[in-house]
């Protein structure tokens, strides 16, 4: 039997597979499809202090091996998430969840994190400093080491729960941002968020997406994500949740070899609602195929000793 268990800041996951924020809502559309308790954890829909409708539509553009989204952090606000969505999810899912939060000022991040700190369902707080969709929003924090560190310190100051900073790939040097977050006390890192992308409608000669640009995700970005996880793993000593185009059990293993302690699955959930279930089901056989007895033993295994 292959041991699928892995650990994030002392929290033991039955397996490393976690649906990524923004592709799984609060689990409500997936609960009727399969037993959510097979999942390692769930990263819930990105939450802000106040409710948000998000961006105008169209918000979606198809790409080769992926899609661009410009949802713009639509969510009911942290009060409703903690008061209604998390208890509702807890009826289906009995393990700690990952609370993904965003903000438009350091104070907002801290206030949102402080509220999430009170939610018993939350195991880890994942701080999105990278969403490329919101004008003047999250992007400024994740592209500057000092700003990313400031958000990290502000969130750490209001919670005892492990804090993971979710990094944007839309930077010249992700390693310096990762190091700044680690130095500021981050318990872990999630990477990568979506790549800023764009499509143009050839008939209308206008951008497909109302906001012109959006976040590109899907299998097309997997090599970029893998490379960044590999680079950051060399530079920091805190755990990494790897994500970006992960769609198969082999992708999970590859991401862990690059240095990920756990792996999030995003876009794949949108085209195959049973993607996470099937990846988890495939993992033991694929691991055995590569001579792996314990997934946690292969974390960072592709690096030179």
């Amino acid at each position: 039997m292959v041991d699928l268990k892995t650990t994030l800041s002392g929290i033991v996951l039955d397996n490393p597979v976690i649906p990524a924020s923004g592709t799984f809502g609060f689990g409500e559309e997936f609960a009727p499809l399969y037993d959510l308790n097979i999942l390692g954890s769930i990263s819930i829909k990105g939450t802000t202090l106040e409710p948000r409708f998000g961006n105008p539509t169209p918000r979606i553009a198809e790409c080769t091996a992926g899609l661009i989204n410009s949802v713009g952090l639509q969510n009911p606000g942290v009060e409703k998430v903690v008061g209604e969505e998390l208890p509702r999810l807890a009826r289906h899912y009995h393990k700690p969840v990952i609370a993904n939060i965003s903000g438009f000022s350091v104070e907002e991040y801290a206030a949102c994190a402080a509220r999430m700190d009170q939610a018993k369902e939350v195991g880890i707080i994942e701080v999105n400093v990278s969403c490329p969709n919101v004008h003047g929003g999250g992007i400024s924090f994740g592209t500057d080491p000092a700003s990313a560190a400031a958000v990290t310190r502000a969130v750490k100051a209001v919670t005892k729960k492990p804090v993971y900073i979710k990094l944007t790939p839309n930077v010249t040097d992700i390693v310096s941002i990762a190091q700044a977050c680690a130095d500021a006390g981050a318990d872990g890192l999630s990477l990568i968020n979506t790549l800023l992308g764009m499509r143009i409608d050839l008939k209308r000669r206008k951008p497909v997406i109302a906001n012109k640009m959006g976040g590109f995700s899907g299998p097309a970005i997997f090599p970029v994500a893998l490379r960044m996880v590999y680079q950051v793993y060399e530079a920091v000593d805190i755990p990494i949740i790897g994500m970006g185009g992960v769609s198969t059990a082999d992708d999970v293993i590859e991401m862990m070899l690059a240095g990920a302690s756990a792996v999030q699955v995003g876009a794949a959930n949108l085209v195959d609602p049973w993607a996470c279930r099937d990846i988890i089901a495939d993992l033991p056989e694929r691991a055995e195929h590569y001579g792996i007895r314990s997934l946690s033993e292969i974390i960072g295994g592709a690096h030179e000793k």
Partner: protein
């Protein structure tokens, strides 16, 4: 929602850029007219959401009518009998026939006409009086006229250029027909808006939006309504007239 492998029985061109595909498979989740299915195509990342034109539950036959608007639907139009497609079924709320009045208008525009065939038949079968108004740009694009006639549903055709039926948009027909108790509509948004403005009675309107997942997970197709934000794919595509915000 169910995922199923469907086998193409036929895939025929019925008008310029319009095709009708019949597929066999598990149609048990398709329960209401106005629902849609989401079809995966080889080489394309996102599925193609297509409204259900008609369903034969006994024989397990699903019919969709689609317009070739891009490379995905172009590829679909070249598929033939015996080929298979991965289809998510049972998506969207569909029309609530129980809310129909004594006299009903079923109104479709262009590529929005296919789901109105099953809708009209369901109303007829529920013992309601139903008249169809189908609008197109030009005579060559008129579809479904014979099918509606064969189903004994009185049908008024309009064309924007006057080459068939009444000249003008569907609203040109509305002004010539007795005012109905209720309307069911599907078509481009300007048509929906025109019907909304031209009718005093309640009704249901089926909307279209670019979708990511089609089952309510991604928030790609949200719209604002009187009762807060709704997802066109999951809480729609059908909205009640009184909740619509333009």
């Amino acid at each position: 929602m169910k995922q199923g492998i469907f086998t193409i029985q036929e895939n025929l061109q019925i008008a310029p850029d319009m095709y009708e595909m019949a597929l066999t498979g598990d149609v048990s989740e398709i329960t209401r007219p106005g629902q849609f299915v989401n079809i995966a195509l080889d080489g394309f990342y996102l599925r193609r959401p297509l409204s259900v034109h008609d369903v034969d539950s006994g024989a397990g036959i699903l019919r969709v009518i689609y317009k070739t608007v891009g490379r995905g639907t172009d590829a679909m139009s070249r598929m033939g009998p015996g080929e298979t497609l991965d289809v998510l079924t049972g998506l969207g709320n569909g029309f609530d026939i129980a809310k129909a009045g004594e006299t009903n208008l079923v109104i479709g525009g262009g590529a929005g006409t296919p789901p109105m065939y099953w809708t009209a038949k369901a109303l007829r079968d529920a013992g309601k009086r139903v008249t169809a108004v189908l609008g197109f740009n030009t005579a060559a694009e008129v579809i479904l006229q014979q099918k509606f006639a064969a189903a004994n549903i009185p049908t008024v055709i309009t064309t924007a250029d006057g080459s068939a039926g009444i000249k003008g948009f569907v609203t040109a027909a509305l002004s010539e027909l007795p005012a109905p108790d209720y309307t069911f509509s599907c078509g481009p948004e300007p048509m929906l808006r025109a019907v909304y403005d031209a009718t005093a009675c309640p009704g249901q309107f089926s909307f279209e939006e670019r979708m990511g997942c089609g089952f309510g997970a991604c928030m790609g197709c949200s719209c604002k309504t009187k009762y807060g934000s709704k997802r066109i794919c999951k809480d729609g595509p059908v909205l009640e007239k009184e909740e619509i915000l333009w």
